[in-house]
Symmetry: C2
Subunit: 362 residues, 2 copies
């Protein structure tokens, strides 16, 4: 009987929640929603399905130290730092090598570290069903999210006919993976009822992933051979990774494998999900005052509605006469932006990066 594993991808550049998030402290290391860092909440959520000894976290060198502090229950060897990010394809190849060294037939879930899933029980029910499906045959299982609006920031999964049922959960075949659509196309996707959001949640076995890499991205399959060898000798993989990563192109697992494979199936999620992709999305997870303001720390709004005002460290942040703005004060930096422009924080990041001595604020 193959063992079950989980591999959490905890990377990211920490831009969208600047100034609270930073290069070394991105979203998954912050209590953006609730009181624990998102990564800690993710680990808590999967714990009843996958034990700590079978749970890996793949992060980046810049974030490794902070990640270790957030994951005290994981074996130290289960936290692996990529030298730098190269999108999700290398992380999946690395994950397959890590899991394969423990159990060559192991089945593992790849899961993002920074999503909000309020109903953990429904989530675990789906996750168990996905493990059952991925254990039953040579398929790549994805958990798709029912779209609530024509989001243009996500990829979509075009679902086909019914495939099989596991633990009462009905899986569908996948017609096609679709990249982030324009708004009109997104509207069509949502209206048709045939599409799910691709939330980056996959469950599959080591042999299935290995075969897929050999078939669709053979360079990747070969590139990670030194990692597999190091693991077979119970050696740390850091040296091998430092040699491999500079030679890799940036590549998403969606593009490398899923868009090309014909053995992908999808489980439409039974749980509510939010990737909390920017400051305005946080508001839906906060207690609000009578005027719909989300306040945290010493924050004050006079004559204003729908604002997000977060103020750290005993510093008072007061907003007078404004609606729907985000004001985030941290120890060394403050951002003021209307909610409608919060997606454009990268422009601020770019301008700060260009300042003399600006990097200290990133």
């Amino acid at each position: 009987m193959p063992q079950h594993f989980a591999v959490i991808i905890a990377g990211g550049k920490g831009e969208r929640f600047w100034p609270q998030s930073r290069e070394r402290r991105p979203k998954h290391l912050l209590p953006i929603v609730g009181k624990k860092p998102m990564l800690a909440r993710t680990l808590d959520r999967i714990r009843p399905v996958v034990p700590a000894k079978n749970t890996f976290v793949i992060t980046s060198a810049a974030q490794e130290k902070a990640v270790r502090q957030v994951c005290p229950k994981l074996p130290g060897a289960n936290i692996i730092a990529e030298p730098f990010g190269r999108d999700t394809a290398p992380a999946v190849a690395l994950a397959a090598a890590l899991v394969g060294a423990r159990d060559p037939r192991g089945v593992f879930a790849m899961l993002p570290a920074d999503h909000v899933i309020p109903d953990a029980k429904a989530y675990r029910r789906d996750l168990r069903a996905a493990f059952a499906a991925a254990s039953a045959g040579p398929v790549m299982v994805t958990i798709g999210i029912k779209p609530t609006h024509p989001e243009t920031g996500f990829g979509y999964i075009h679902m086909g006919g019914a495939w099989r049922e596991f633990d009462g959960a009905k899986f569908a075949r996948v017609k096609q993976f679709k990249e982030k659509p324009a708004l009109d196309l997104a509207r069509h996707y949502v209206a048709s009822g045939e599409y799910a959001w691709n939330a980056g949640m996959f469950v599959w076995s080591v042999p299935v992933v290995q075969t897929a890499f050999e078939k669709h991205a053979p360079a990747y399959a070969a590139a990670f051979e030194p990692v597999r060898k190091a693991l077979a000798k119970r050696k740390p993989v850091g040296v091998a990774l430092k040699k491999i990563y500079p030679k890799l192109d940036r590549l998403s697992v969606d593009y490398a494998l899923l868009e090309k494979a014909d053995n992908v199936v999808v489980l439409p999620a039974s749980f509510k999900w939010d990737d909390v992709g920017s400051w305005p999305a946080v508001q839906g997870h906060c207690a609000l005052d009578a005027d719909g303001n989300a306040l945290r720390g010493d924050a004050l709004v006079v004559q204003g509605r729908g604002n997000i005002v977060f103020s750290e460290g005993g510093h008072l942040t007061a907003v007078l006469g404004l609606d729907d703005v985000v004001v985030v004060h941290t120890k060394d930096a403050t951002l003021v932006v209307p909610k409608s422009k919060a997606q454009e924080i990268k422009k601020v990041i770019a301008k700060i990066g260009a300042l003399k001595n600006g990097k200290k604020w990133l």
Copy 2:
């Protein structure tokens, strides 16, 4: 020949420039415009007309220490703290007592500490002419400002016919002092050309002020007798003031004397003047970036015009996608307000004052 004196009124509650201004550090102690505190600039401006030994500063107990630091060139005895503010009438009575003890026939200018007057030479020319006028006869001289817009936040002076000329400056009689008008009336005042703004700048002799108090506010004339006695014995006046002030009603010198007197004359100012009454007024005195933003400290605006962003202490304050807002970051408090609402800062002050432990931010 009577000596000339200047008495600077440096009071205020520090509300309009919160969070930069505080109860103990109001506008006149801050470099709101330029690099020196407004009070220091005021002292520099009058220095060629009135020597330091003849210059007094009347402040409040809460601000006394900070005022002394800003006025190192004044004799210590020339800085007097009122126990608390009771508007301008008691300050004028106190000023007359202070000056009278040095020269019973002395002529003195009462001047606010926190106004901006870019052309100091023109200002001093007018001030010298006002001294000449106040020395020539029993008149109360006021320097009136030519209105640039129908401001409802100032009192107005209704000017009558020509009175006399001193040093080439033409003085007018005063028909009436007018309290802060409604907008329609303010428009009429400005359109008529017969009105000047009352900027609280007066020049008069000790006997003229003393006579005016005896005639129009005899209770005040009597109340300050213990101060005059202490000064005659070269004793500090603090003890006397602490006894007198709790018994005084709040009273402005405009209401107590000027609106009632028939010996007031006005010199229409030849200089430009700005009381810089709130954050938006500061912008007119700042270097602006290409988008009309006034930036001070580590302040950054992306996609925004006409903003005022001041950030102290190496803290980065970034504004994205907003126009015409004021963002002021200080060590322990930050304010975000549209310029159009900056007059309403008192509402923030009130809400902070009502917070548990809120007073530390005031």
